[in-house]
Every structure is written in C-alpha cells, then in structure tokens.
C-alpha cells in the first residue's frame, strides 16, 4: 500500500474516533450538569475546566473565549470551526481524509462518512445543538458506529484495515486516559474523589463517557476510584481499556510487518511491545503510588511516541530515501493549493 494512503487511513479512523469520544464526553457531562444543583458562574467554570483541560485544548479555548460557561464550552467542543479538535472539525478532517482515499472505500462507507459530514454542516445540526443536544450527540455517535460497522464488513483485512485499526485504538487509548484524567483537575484533585458522593457521580460519568457503565457493573461492585481505574486501564476484555487498545495496536503492527509478536522490526513495534509489557505486568497500585495524573501523562506521552514511530517507519522511511515526501496532504501549502487548481480541466 502507498505510504501516504496508509497514513490517510490511519488519520481518517483517528478523527472519526475522536469525534465519537468527544460526543460521548460532552453528552455525559451535560447530563451530569442536569443532575447537579444550580451552579453559579464560578462553579460552572470549575465544572467545565477539567473537561477542556482533558481535551488538551485549554490554550485554544482561552485565546477565543473570556467566559467558560456551559454555552461557550459546548460550542467550543462541538461545532466551533476555530477549534481544530471540535466534533465538527474532526468530522471535516475525517471526511477530507476519506475523500483522498475515496477510490479504496466502498460506496456505503464513503456515503456514511459524507452524510455525516453533510449533517454536521446542515441547518438541522445547528438547530439540534441548541434545541436537543442529546439527539445531536447521539446522531454523531450512531453515525461513527455505523461507519465502523460498515468498515468492518466492507474493508478487506489488508493494510488499509490494519492502519485504521492502529489509528482507532491509539486514539481510543488516549481518550480513555484523558477521560480518567478529568478527575485530576477537579477541585481537590483525584485524592479527594475517592468515594465521597460527588466522586461517585464523576466516576460513573467517566464510565459512561467511555461507554463502559454496563460492562463495569457486570464485573465490579460499587464505584470507587481504584475499581474504575483498574477497569478502564487494565481490563483485558473491555474494548476501550488502555490494555485492550495497546494489545490491538501491537497485533496490527505485527500483521503489517509480518514479524511474530514478542519481537520487533521497527521502532513502532519496539515502543508498543514495551508499553504492552508494562501494562501487562503493571497494576493500579503502582499507578496510585506514582500518582494518577503523572501516570496518565506518561501513558499519553508513550502513545504519542508510538504514533510518531509509525509515521517514521511507514511514511517517512528516512533510511530508504533521501527525498522526503511532499508536505502534509491534510494542510497543503498555499502554493500547492494554487498549483492543484491550475491544472487545466479540458
């Protein structure tokens, strides 16, 4: 498969996954807000701040807004074109990537992607966001899930699929850690959240953000920080746990290279194998010793390194070719754009 195409599949899946996760996060927290007593603007800020922080977009947010009320935050995360990680922006980017590899997608898969894109740009969407946000987020999640379902049943299990798998699971692992990390930013930090009553609300909200509430209940009793953390990081069976995702990344990488698991043929495989072993042999106790936030932070840094290593091994190929590929196709330079348009259409 063309390196650029592999990269495009990877990002298409990542952006769909990101939009899906964000939709769940906002929806759950909005509902959580309905359960709480009326909050004054200070406490409202305290409520949303961790969510913006966990999305990693605090700087962008502060450069755009003075206030951090519900309306601002929701707009910022949902359909603000100035936020490159808003749901609408993610769908736009996913669709742009899909368009680039349109020739390799089934008609149904492309149509689902394109319909979702057209929906996010429609008046219907604008209306829903203000009148019935829960339905808006549900629609995003449904469509993302449909996309995944169609992909699973129409894409051959070749490299296109493996690279999508990589993108999806890395993004998922990253988002799961960020959702847990929300607690670190709450007033009092994660220590204060052990089992006091707002803590239970928050931990169950995190589980719901990860779509894990039912699965969690079936194996654990009661909500406490350790139980939830253990489930979301170390569960071998739950498809959004960090361990599960990294396991999937490792499997996909070895399918691509053809080397047996447990060995490695490039940096991406080495980084992933190491992380996987740390997770396999690690425990919630260790994580709480290190401290929740630093532990999650270091996981996220390792996900990033894996992402970079995948790019270097399969797209840049510096050891094989001197000339580097022309810039990022997702944001072409003004010159490239102009030149693309200059090609005479006879």
């Amino acid at each position: 498969m063309l390196s650029r195409v592999a990269n495009t599949f990877y990002w298409m899946a990542r952006y769909v996954e990101r939009a899906d996760n964000l939709a769940r996060l906002i929806d759950v927290n909005q509902q959580l807000l309905l359960d709480s007593e009326r909050l004054d603007s200070d406490r409202l800020r305290g409520f949303w701040q961790p969510i913006i922080l966990s999305a990693g977009d605090e700087e962008t947010f502060n450069s755009i807004y003075d206030e951090a009320g519900s309306a601002e935050v929701i707009h910022f995360l949902t359909d603000d074109p100035r936020n490159p990680n808003s749901i609408t922006s993610c769908i736009g980017l996913a669709r742009e990537n899909a368009r680039t590899v349109r020739d390799q997608l089934s008609d149904e898969l492309w149509e689902e992607m394109n319909s979702l894109y057209l929906f996010t740009r429609s008046e219907e969407a604008t209306l829903l966001i203000s009148s019935d946000p829960a339905r808006f987020y549900q629609k995003i999640r449904r469509s993302a899930e449909t996309f995944l379902g169609i992909a699973a049943s129409t894409i051959s299990r070749n490299e296109a699929w493996e690279f999508m798998d990589l993108g999806r699971h890395l993004e998922r692992a990253d988002k799961t850690t960020r959702f847990i990390d929300v607690t670190s930013y709450l007033p009092g930090g994660s220590e204060g959240m052990q089992s006091s009553s707002p803590g239970i609300l928050h931990w169950s909200a995190i589980l719901r953000s990860c779509g894990a509430l039912g699965a969690f209940r079936s194996v654990k009793r009661g909500f406490d920080a350790r139980g939830v953390f253990d489930f979301l990081v170390f569960s071998k069976d739950f498809p959004r746990s960090v361990l599960f995702c990294i396991e999937a990344v490792d499997t996909a990488l070895h399918r691509i290279s053809g080397t047996p698991r447990g060995t490695f043929s490039n940096e991406a495989e080495r980084e992933t194998g190491r992380l996987l072993s740390d997770l396999n042999f690690g425990s919630t106790e260790d994580a709480f010793c290190i401290g929740l936030h630093p532990y999650l932070d270091s996981l996220q840094a390792r996900f990033n390194r894996i992402g970079e290593a995948i790019f270097e091994s399969y797209v840049l190929m510096p050891e094989r070719i001197q000339v580097s590929p022309v810039g990022d196709s997702r944001s072409p330079s003004a010159i490239a754009l102009w030149q693309m348009q200059q090609q005479q259409q006879q």
Partner: protein
C-alpha cells in the same frame, strides 16, 4: 398534466422533435414512457438523483469561491437519444480524426514532413504554447501520443455534427458520463426497460487495457497508476473514480520517486516500480527539473525516465500542440495529408487572426463572431460577440491585435436543443457532446459520451464552470 404538452421545439434543431412538431422516430419510445410519468413522480425521482450525486460526493469545487463550496454538477433526467446510424457516423469520424492527430504529433516530433511540405505553416506549430521541441526525437510506445481524446461535438441548425475542438491533453468528465448512467438507472429504472440502450460500462476496462498496451515492460504485469494533482483539484472525484474502477493506485507527485531513471512509488513495504502513468497533471507541472521549477505537484526526474523509455505516460508529453485552437483549423488538412481521405466530420469554419484577410474580417465582424483564445478551456478566454457589451468587444479587439497568433474566431453556431427540465417545465436548452476516444491496441469509443447542456435559456455555453449541466446520452442498438 402531461409534461410534454406545452413543449415548444422553437426555431432550432431539436434532438427529440422535428420542425413540424412530430417526434423523431428513434425518440418515440422514450417519449411514450415519459408521457406515462406524472409531474410529481418525475420531480421526486429527479430530487432522488440529485441526492445520489451529493451523497456520492460527485461534486466539483468552484474556484474563486472562498467558502470552498462543493456543488453537484446539475443533472437533467431527460436523456439525449442517438440512433445507431447517427452514432456509427460519429464513431467513424472520430476514429479517423484521432488517427490523423496522432500521425501529426509523431510527424511534428520527428521529421516534420507536414511542415516541410508546407501543408501547415511552420510558424503556427513552433509558436504553439504547448509545443515541446525538446522532445523531438523521443519515441513513445506504438507512436501513440493522444491515448485519450475528448473532442467536443456540436450539431448545427442544419442537423449536421461539427467538431468544435479536440481536447488532447487531460480531457475530463468521463466519470460524469458513467455516473449519469448510474443515477438515471437508479432514479428511473423503468425508463430503460427494453429500449435497447447500449451500455457504457466498458470505459474503465478499455482505459486499463490501453494503459497495459503502452507499458514498456513486457516481462511482467505492468504496474499502472493514476497521477493526480491532489484532492484540491476540481476533478479529484473523477481521478478517484477512475482509479477505483480500474483497480489501480491513485498517486500524488510526492508518492513517486525516480532512481536511476526508473520510477517507483513509496509503499509501506518499500519501493515498487511503476510502468505506466495515467497522468492528470499538465506538462508544465509534471517534472520540476524540466518544466516549471516551482512545481510541487510533479516528480523530479520523471522526464529522464520517460525519455529512457522506462515509463509510459498517457497522454504523452507535448500533445497540447494538437489541440491548440489554431492548429485545430488544420485538422481536415492533416486527414487529407496523412490518410488521403476526406474528413468525415467537419470543422466549424474558423478564422485565424494571424492571417491578414481573416484578421480584417474578424475585426470588422466582432459583434457577430465567437472569439476564442487558442489555449484556454472551460469556457474561459472567450468572447460571445452577439451578447457581449461594447467594452468587452473593445477589450478583445485590443487583445487580438496585440497577440494575433493566439486568437481565432468562428461564426456563432446555433447548437441543437434537447428538452430539459428548467423553472418548472420542460423547455429546449442547447447541448453539445463530449465523446471519449481511447487509442491503444485499437480505437475504442464508449457509445455516446457526455452530453452537456446550457441550463440558462438561450445560452450557448455548456461548461460546468459557467452554469452548465449534463444529461445521460443514449445510443440505441441496431
């Protein structure tokens, strides 16, 4: 109410009706089917077909539109129907023409016999914007230069077909032809029934066979790719569509590298050799080492590999000299010169501004003529005399005098019309025809072509950039 009841063919050649208002024999079955449709049903189906285009992303970007809006290419559900006789005539004429054009290109890039014999003035060829003298003496597989040609045909008031221009560089639109058929089949399945419409499915196969045919490599299955300028080009949808239908990779310049005069693509498992490139990038941008230095779309070193015969390009480099609108004037002479035949399809009478007599005539009759720049396309660089303002005419007068080599003029041809749904009723709109001619092992022309229609009343400009739409084109079996 029946939709054709108030239809008026007017004073034009109408593709469906004769001047006395009776239906042309080969259109009668279609008209009967349409009469069974009621308007509401028709409109609902029309809306369905539009949704199909939008969802499939069969859209084009309108340049100079800051919002980056994507529009669908308007599709009119009333097909244009051609009888078997009509089509066979066109097929013979187009085949004759592409053979002559290729003989001309081979000649111009080798011995230049036609220039030595002064059948075409040397000046016109050497001054042609897209002439590439640096490629004289370079051989191409099978001596074929134009592998894919999109000649534009129009039909005058006399009912005769004329060639308006030959597009021999990167003609586009074939995907619309194929998708129009898909859309019509989906929206109006019953229209087809037993009408005997010839299928257009073979196009991608013919295209791929041609690419295989021109491969320089005989010892292995050739690797063919489609080279696109990128996803921000207005025809990107088409590039993807054709690549997918052919099952070949679509590549950008950055995906290809040239090492020791061979072309390779970067894959996740290293470099893979490429034999044939169906390129949708203009000559100017294809290799920054040889052509425009600032091109970021091309492949450095590609021309070296091409010259060495290690990679084939469709279309070849330098074909633009043959579709220069001045050279167009000489195509009938090429047919006589190389083939010793009379042209089956006529040219539109053309005046060349660099000929003294013609220039006088052009300047004296600007308000009656169509003036065209020799190397523009897409309906740009054109003056429609009868509808132009005084200022526009004055502007073109200056341009023509300043650069006569690059201007031609033609009488206004009143294009034939076809019933088209506009503003809540069926009425006549002007159309043209863009067939796609493939020249590989043999000449293959997909039955029909893309019928473009000027949706604005009385307009003669069918280009999509100027508010044109398209129709499905039916060629009937014998």
């Amino acid at each position: 109410m029946e939709m054709f009841e108030s239809y008026d063919p007017g004073e034009f050649y109408d593709e469906m009706f004769q001047s006395d208002g009776s239906v042309r024999a080969h259109c009668a079955p279609l008209l009967r089917r349409f009469r069974q449709l009621d308007e509401r049903d028709f409109l609902a189906r029309k809306a369905n077909s539009e949704l199909y285009f939008l969802r499939q992303g069969i859209t084009f970007n309108v340049y100079h539109d800051d919002r980056g809006t994507e529009r669908i290419f308007p599709f009119d559900p009333v097909p244009r129907v051609m009888s078997a006789d009509e089509w066979e005539h066109l097929e013979a004429g187009l085949t004759q023409r592409i053979v002559a054009l290729n003989l001309f290109l081979h000649d111009v890039y080798h011995d230049q016999q036609i220039l030595k014999d002064e059948v075409i003035p040397r000046f016109y060829v050497e001054q042609a914007k897209h002439y590439r003298p640096e490629f004289r003496g370079v051989d191409v597989p099978g001596d074929i230069y134009i592998h894919i040609c999109g000649s534009d045909l129009i039909r005058g008031a006399d009912g005769e077909y004329y060639v308006l221009e030959d597009n021999g560089r990167c003609p586009s639109g074939a995907s619309y032809l194929l998708e129009n058929r898909n859309a019509l089949k989906r929206a109006f399945p019953r229209l087809f029934g037993d009408m005997g419409v010839r299928s257009v499915d073979s196009y991608p196969r013919d295209l791929l066979n041609m690419l295989h045919h021109i491969s320089p490599r005989r010892d292995a299955d050739p690797v063919c790719v489609l080279l696109t300028p990128g996803c921000h080009n207005s025809a990107y949808f088409e590039h993807c569509y054709l690549a997918r239908e052919m099952g070949i990779d679509i590549v950008e310049g950055g995906d290809l590298v040239v090492l020791d005069k061979f072309v390779y693509m970067r894959t996740t498992h290293g470099l893979k050799r490429v034999d044939v490139i169906y390129r949708r990038i203009d000559d100017d941008f294809i290799d920054p080492v040889v052509f425009r230095k600032d091109s970021v779309l091309g492949v450095p070193g590609l021309m070296q590999s091409y010259r060495a015969g290690n990679v084939s390009l469709a279309n070849a480099v330098g074909t633009g000299v043959a579709d220069d609108k001045v050279i167009y004037h000489f195509v009938p002479r090429m047919i006589q010169y190389y083939l010793g035949q009379e042209p089956i399809l006529k040219n539109v009478p053309t005046y060349l501004a660099s000929e003294e007599e013609d220039m006088k005539f052009i300047l004296g009759h600007l308000p009656e003529l169509v003036v065209k720049a020799a190397n523009e396309s897409g309906g740009y660089g054109m003056l429609m005399g009868p509808s132009a303002s005084k200022d526009e005419i004055a502007d073109f007068r200056e341009r023509i005098i300043a650069d006569p080599r690059n201007y031609i003029a033609q009488p206004v041809i009143s294009l034939s019309r076809s019933p088209t749904w506009c503003d809540g009723a069926l009425s006549g709109r002007h159309i043209d025809l863009r067939p796609y001619i493939i020249y590989g092992n043999e000449v293959k022309i997909v039955p029909g072509g893309l019928t473009r229609v000027a949706l604005t009343k009385d307009s003669l400009i069918v280009n999509s950039s100027q508010g044109g739409g398209s129709k499905d084109t039916w060629v009937l079996r014998r």
